[in-house]
Symmetry: C2
DNA sequence: CGTCAGTTTGAGCGAGCTCAACGTGAGTGG
DNA sequence: CCACTCACGTTGAGCTCGCTCAAACTGACG
């Protein structure tokens, strides 16, 4: 049964990992996967509240989520936090520090999580030898830029309701990619984290959830969410 | 005198370009600069309103600004525009499309501008041969991510006044890097562009300028800006 | 000299913030 | 087993900053 628990499969290889379709380039040959596999470090699982890295830590690696959920956030000069992203299984994080000496953001586990650490120096080497891998990491970075720019547009143009709807649609899609239910899932983060990420107060986030529930679009119980009318939710999102 | 006009120096080489300290890796050897120089394409100058690329165009190159100013913006599904950045001489743009087949954003000249086009396929090749060049481009991409994340924090936490102040401080610093006055400069974009970029309406931007002027922090005449009290401006920005 | 894009200013309104109170459930110690 | 705490979430009431709508001004360009 040990092998069944996603957090404890420290010995699992990239070739066997259920997430590999998400975090690896599809075009990779199996012997190339083995080479990548050999540089990936898989530590013990992180408990809720444990950090992958803190802002100011030297940048050495990028990371992939195997299970659980990670929150990334920056702290600016006056000490206010800005949540920069939520990372789910199969997703890569820490790439915003590539090319900096130190991390600008912190990354903390929102629940018990298993993480793959990929030392960047090794990855750079390997990338120069495997073109499709290099492409893949360029693509990852530019996808991060695109995501950030979509978030910028969301923050600068959309109402509280649209922002929350967009977040829910995003989580729904990301669950679906992992062959999980697109309509029923548990949010790994608090209302405060959602509000921080979306530029809203806790109260506003809470009120929006209540309103969407009253309109029959959602059924919400704390962090448990069921999407009842995904068409109307998508209509609110992005628009 | 022809050689004095920055827009018309189509024949200038990277080694001679006044901007090279900004857009090239400092560590590059002169024969490496020559190799890079040979792949850079320098077209005729763009007039105000002419496009470098449109959203949907196939991605082939990244670009450097030699003179003038470029505005980048995305158009989302419902047709609303989101300005994603302003690019000044010495700055690189178009890197958000690396790893995508097509550009997600459009880039348009805000005034007469000279642009260097760097075909990405060639750059990739050269990067794999010149490690410091590869590092440089990774650094550029992650700097773009950092910038976007700072903008996200700005939009999600700061008031209209703080947003405008931050923009002005940024322009001031970027002018200073080019050895131009940090206190007196001309904004290349309209109030509407500023508002779009900062998630504010034209009217609000205009009112903030007026208020900062009344407080003796700025002297503004249309797009001409003089920073009178840069300490107070910096205190408003970010903080 | 008329037109038109860009900018400024005013008046009123409303979405989301602030402040405050209360509810709920998980963990802890008696 | 219950009492207590503490983090988290919800709800209400009032206020405020920035938005909307409207009007007038400026300068560039035909």
């Amino acid at each position: 049964m040990e092998a069944r628990c996603p957090h404890n499969r420290a010995a699992v290889s990239c070739g066997d990992c259920r997430m590999n379709a998400l975090c690896l380039p599809i075009a990779l040959e199996s012997h190339e996967i083995d080479r990548l596999d050999r540089i990936v470090e898989r530590g013990r699982p992180l408990q809720k509240g444990e950090y992958v890295y803190h802002a100011g830590d030297p940048f050495r690696s990028v990371y992939a989520v195997r299970s659980g959920a990670i929150k990334g956030y920056a702290v600016d000069d006056d000490g206010t936090e800005q949540v920069t992203g939520f990372y789910l299984p199969g997703e890569i994080f820490g790439i915003d520090a590539i090319g900096h000496a130190v991390h600008r953001n912190s990354a903390v586990a929102l629940e018990t999580s298993a993480i793959c650490e990929i030392p960047f120096a090794r990855l750079e080497e390997l990338s120069s030898q495997i073109p499709s891998l290099q492409r893949h990491f360029f693509a990852l970075m530019s996808r991060e830029i695109s995501n950030d720019q979509q978030l910028i547009a969301l923050l600068s143009k959309n109402s509280a309701e649209e922002r929350v709807a967009t977040l829910l649609v995003s989580f729904s899609a990301r669950h679906a990619r992992r062959k999980l239910s697109a309509t029923r899932f548990r949010l790994p983060m608090s209302r405060a984290d959602i509000g921080n990420y979306l530029g809203l107060t806790v109260e506003t986030v809470s009120r929006v959830f209540s309103r969407l529930q009253r309109q029959g679009i959602l059924a919400v119980d704390k962090r448990e969410v069921e999407i009842l009318d995904s068409d109307r939710l998508k209509a609110l999102a992005n628009a």
